[in-house]
Amino acid sequence: MAMYSAEFNVHDATMRVVNPRNILRIDWMLPIFVILLAAAGWFTMYSASRSSDVSYFYRQVAFFFIGAAITLIIVCIDYRFLVSLAPVMYAVIVLLLVAVLLWGTEIKGGKRWLRFGLFNLQPSETSKIVMVYALTWYLTTVGPRIRNLFWFLLAFVIAGVPMVLILKQPNLGTAGCLAPLTIVMLWVAGCKRWHMAVIIGLGLSVIPLLWLQMRDFDPEIETPRKAAYELKHYQKKRIYTFLHPEYATRKSGWHTYQSKITVGSGGLSGKGYLKGTQTRLNYLPEHHTDFIFSLLAEEHGFVGAVVVIGLFAAFLLRGLMYARDCPEMMGTLLASGIVTVLAFHVFVNIAITIGLMPVTGIPLPFLSYGGSFYMTTMICVGILLNVPMRRGLMFIN
């Protein structure tokens, strides 16, 4: 392994790609938040699973421990090694995304899954982490040239290819995740401010375009799409539901409507553990996956919800601290990218459950049920924990 050392770090003579001793050097703050969040997840999952299947709870606990093992493995691997593999990862993921479009399994109107013999793979899910690595690799390679418009725009091309492929599936939620990720990482990498301003301005200009599409939209009448930029009917319907909550009570927005009732009826301190009526009586669908936060807010009220949001904030800010304090650009970019992905999930998921955004299938880290997303989250935790391992550099410098 030592043969790679010259390539990615010449200053640290003791550097090894795999170093189990890293485990002893783990920063203990972040794992505490992780464990608290995971515990909150189990606690909530037990309540959620009571009304359907208690095995969800046991499996969720198991996922955490499997995930923790993966975290420890990731911690032991030097992130610079993984970043160096980023071009390969990127190529593989693009191929997989193309494969999904060609041979994917269609579930609920979206081609998202690749069926292998033993397991199913959702390349769009994996693409989030891969994109963090790919952009980290690209931005560290480009270095200060990022202030140059060409290199700045090339980053969007790199991010844009998988994004378009994911939009084709279609999977608006994941594609939406890649946009803030790219922007945050470019920002941290030190792009020019006016470049960023123009890009954000262009992004916001989508809103009038959307408005044009939504102006005459009637959710009851399904019209064929006229242009490529136009949204699909079900996507428009979700936006329509979000803009017209009274329509929700009738048909499509049952989720949002019931979720708001669930959260709102919780009050300050909630209805009490295992006493949430909305979830227990199945008024809130998917209350163990995407809408688990509603259950939490119903049973534990405003206090419980804010405590969990606070834990997420602490966790994410701790991650950004690693980014800030990392002596080299690669660690900073990696940590800020990972934090952005996780923050996007936290924010969008909660915003959906409390009716601030239209419904898209975005799970909540540590709380929503689901093995592969739990694994993704724990890999992110491992990557984050690996970043401050390099703090020693400061003294070397």
Binding site: V10, H11, R50, S51, P144, V184, W187, V188, G190, Q258, K260, I261, T262, V263, G264, S265, G266, G267, L268, T277, Q278, R280, L281, N282, Y283, A297, G301, F302, A305, V306, I309, F312, A313, L316, L317, L320, A323, R324, P327, E328, M329, T332, S336, V339, T340, A343, V346, F347, I350, A351, I354, G355, L356, L393, I396, N397
Partner: protein, 716 residues
């Protein structure tokens, strides 16, 4: 380190990361603000919405008030009717076909039909699918026995109206029908699908008999309601806890249903049954009043209907097989024969739920058997409601001829005329008129004949009543009373207006007068508007457009019996008598009574009163016959012999009778449509009623109900 000059990070990256952190914190703060808005500001709204989601008031149907006869016999009550229902959501999917087949085997509910119903409600797995309505006790028990093989199958019980005497007094009790939208909107305390009274007592006392529904507040699942179940004894209950161990019924929120008020009638069910029996296949009515109070003892009209048919309504839905006629199949092929064995239990008034459940145990076995499931109700119901093409040869069965049928009174109107003329002092008991067998106004012009063409000779009012001399009354009507006074007395005695009996749909009848004729022919030539003396002549013997109801004549009879007081007939005991002031003097009454007694008592070989058939030795029976023409004499004369006259051209036979020296004093009016002659068709029926009533009761001093004593000679 000296070797490396390459900066690992550019200046200001820390600031940029901190800005990201700031934005992130702001974003999460927005979430907290929205949470505050939902959970603190709008808490009450969302709490209410959540509560609406959670709690559902499940209706516990109240029972309709029981209707009792004057001796406490139950006429109409409620039996527990059990439906077998299937809740697909409570049955494992793969077992559904098997369960449907089992149900076909056990209760003969076609499996394919059940499966089709399950398919229909596929989106709502927790709805109750009615597999079979109104199942028998034995089927209920078979379902309970197999309950382990029948997941998701339950029996639900609801009270259903039962008329224990079937056709007997059917029109008086009235029928039920589904509540209309307008009624539902404007009436309190009703639910959709409720049955409400449409005619008879059920209609008149709808609000009285209708109970107040109760509610149990149950926890509702998004997918459906927890099911109200029924145990083997027919008692409804709800599973106390669901599979997660949560309580389903809200504690302390239960509101028990309150049964409707019981209705105690003055009706003597035995007499009523007997009256309908003796009318037999005739079309007609018998009205029997207590002469002193106006209490209705019998109000028979034939042909009638069985109100049970309406309760077990199932017309218009051929896919659902008609269940049963609880009453008819209970071993009572003829409504007049004895009710089923369970009727012998002493009815306890107003004991609501428990009694009916107990009756369900006995009743649904005995009174609602599955043996004969021919859908008789369909055709009969269609006919009754006028949905089917009416058969012109069959008389209308919906109309009660006793109070809603209007007929020319014919000769029984002479009682009215005699009493009025006597009371006005226009004639005295000694006044005589000569009857040559015909009558001419002023001695010329058209002739009016007496029914006896040979004439009665010189007759007094007593004789005129006894022998029904037409000429005497032509004279009284035209030359003594005059049409104005007839109209005045008609108003006084309640002719041409409703008697006020507590039944809907009563008809007023009509006694014509000049004013009425003028209004009727308004706009026509004057001679058609003017009243002619000939019309007064016709009116004097109850013809010429005059119509009355049998009930009105019974009321008139009652006032002869009770010393000249007009009574208001009533069926609800709580109404009590409501009498007018005295209308006739003793002397007037004595004369009329004398005439009416002579009508009955003057037997052969003497001239013979027309009502002699009703003669009862040792009893002061009053009577007056009547034969009201429905077509002119010319039509009748087209036929050589009286037997040749087609039925529809024959006279209506009337007989009014009263019993003076017994308690209660019966005031009877018999009408037989197209019965030909009152003396032959109607009078024998009155005689039978008198014999039956006083033989049954002896001479009862009061109308006190003899409870529990009804088995002996009930309905013979």
């Amino acid at each position: 380190m000296p070797g490396s000059k390459k900066p690992l990070r550019y200046e200001g990256v820390e600031l940029r990361v901190q800005l990201v952190a700031l934005l992130m914190t702001l974003a999460l703060s927005v979430l907290c603000l929205q949470l505050w808005r939902l959970q603190m500001v709008h808490l009450a709204e969302f709490r209410a919405l959540a509560e609406d989601n959670r709690v559902w008031p499940k209706r516990l149907k109240s029972e309709r008030g029981v209707i009792y006869a004057n001796d406490g016999t139950v006429l109409a009550d409620n039996r527990a009717s059990a439906d077998v229902v299937l809740v697909p959501g409570e049955c494992p999917k793969e077992r559904l076909p098997g369960v449907c087949e089992s149900l076909e085997r056990i209760i003969e509910a076609p499996a394919d039909l059940t499966l089709a119903k399950i398919q229909e409600s596929a989106g709502e797995p927790f709805t109750q699918i009615t597999v079979k309505r109104d199942v028998s006790k034995s089927a209920l028990m078979r379902v309970e026995e197999h309950s382990y093989d029948l997941p998701g199958v339950f029996t639900v019980v609801h009270p259903q109206r039962r008329y224990r005497y079937g056709k007997t007094a059917g029109q008086v009790l009235g029928y039920l029908n589904e509540i209309t939208q307008e009624e539902f909107d404007s009436w309190d305390n009703y639910s959709k699908g409720d049955l409400v009274g449409r005619s008879g007592l059920e209609g008149r006392y709808e609000k009285w008999l209708h109970g107040r529904d109760g509610y149990m507040h149950v926890t509702k699942y998004a997918a459906g309601l927890p099911q109200l179940r029924t145990d083997a004894r027919g008692v409804p209950y709800i599973a106390e806890r669901d599979s997660l161990g949560n309580t389903l019924e809200e504690e302390g929120m239960r509101q028990e249903p309150a049964a409707g008020k019981p209705l105690h009638l003055t009706l003597d069910i035995q007499l009523q049954t007997y009256c309908e029996e003796i009318l037999g296949n005739e079309t007609g009515a018998i009205v029997v009043l207590d002469g002193d109070t106006g209490a209705v003892l019998a109000l028979a009209s034939m042909p009638g209907y069985d109100p049970n048919i309406f309760v077990n309504r199932d017309f218009g839905a051929p896919k659902r097989k008609k269940k049963t006629e609880p009453k008819e199949n209970a071993g009572a092929p003829d409504a007049q024969t004895a009710p089923g064995p369970e009727e012998k239990e002493t009815p306890k008034p107003a004991d609501g739920q428990e009694a009916s459940n107990a009756q369900a145990a006995a009743g649904s076995g005995g009174a609602a058997p599955t043996a004969d499931s021919t859908p008789r109700g369909n055709d009969e119901l269609r006919e009754l409601l006028g949905l089917a093409k009416p058969d012109p040869s069959r008389p209308n069965r919906m109309i009660h001829r006793g109070y809603a049928g209007q007929y020319p009174p014919g000769s029984i109107f002479k009682v009215f005329l005699a009493a009025a003329a006597l009371e006005e002092g226009l004639i005295t008991p000694e006044t005589t008129f000569f009857c040559p067998g015909h009558f001419q106004i002023g001695g010329k012009g058209n002739s009016w004949y007496c029914w006896r063409h040979s004439g009665h000779g010189s007759v007094t009012v007593v004789e005129a009543l006894a022998y029904s001399c037409d000429v005497f009354f032509y004279n009284v009507g035209l030359n003594k009373l005059g049409v104005e006074r007839i109209a005045k007395w008609a108003h006084k005695l309640g002719m041409s207006e409703k008697t006020g009996i507590d039944l809907p749909g009563e008809m007023p009848g009509l006694i014509p007068d000049p004013e009425w004729k003028r209004l009727l022919n308004k706009g026509k030539p004057v001679w058609e508007q003017n009243w002619h003396p000939g019309e007064t002549v016709n009116l004097s013997i109850g013809q010429g457009g005059a119509t009355t109801t049998p009930l009105q004549n019974a009321v008139l009879m009652a006032s002869i019996l009770n010393g000249g007081v007009r009574v208001r007939p009533y069926l609800n005991q709580e109404l009590g008598p409501q009498n007018s002031e005295r209308l006739f003097s003793e002397a007037t009454l004595a004369t009329v009574i004398k005439g009416m007694r002579l009508c009955v008592e003057d037997g052969p070989p003497a001239p013979s009163g027309t009502g002699h058939v009703a003669y009862t030795p040792g009893m002061a029976v009053l009577g007056k016959t009547g034969s009201a023409q429905v077509v002119s004499l010319k039509v009748q004369k087209m036929f050589k012999r009286p037997e040749d006259v087609p039925r529809k051209y024959r006279e209506h036979a009337w007989f009014v009778a009263g019993v003076l020296d017994r308690q209660p004093k019966l005031a009877i009016c018999v009408l037989v449509e197209h019965g030909f002659h009152g003396a032959e068709a109607a009078a024998p029926l009155a005689k039978k009623v008198i014999d039956f009533y006083y033989a049954k009761t002896g001479s009862r001093e009061t109308m006190t109900a003899r409870q529990g004593d009804t088995d002996g000679d009930v309905l013979r």
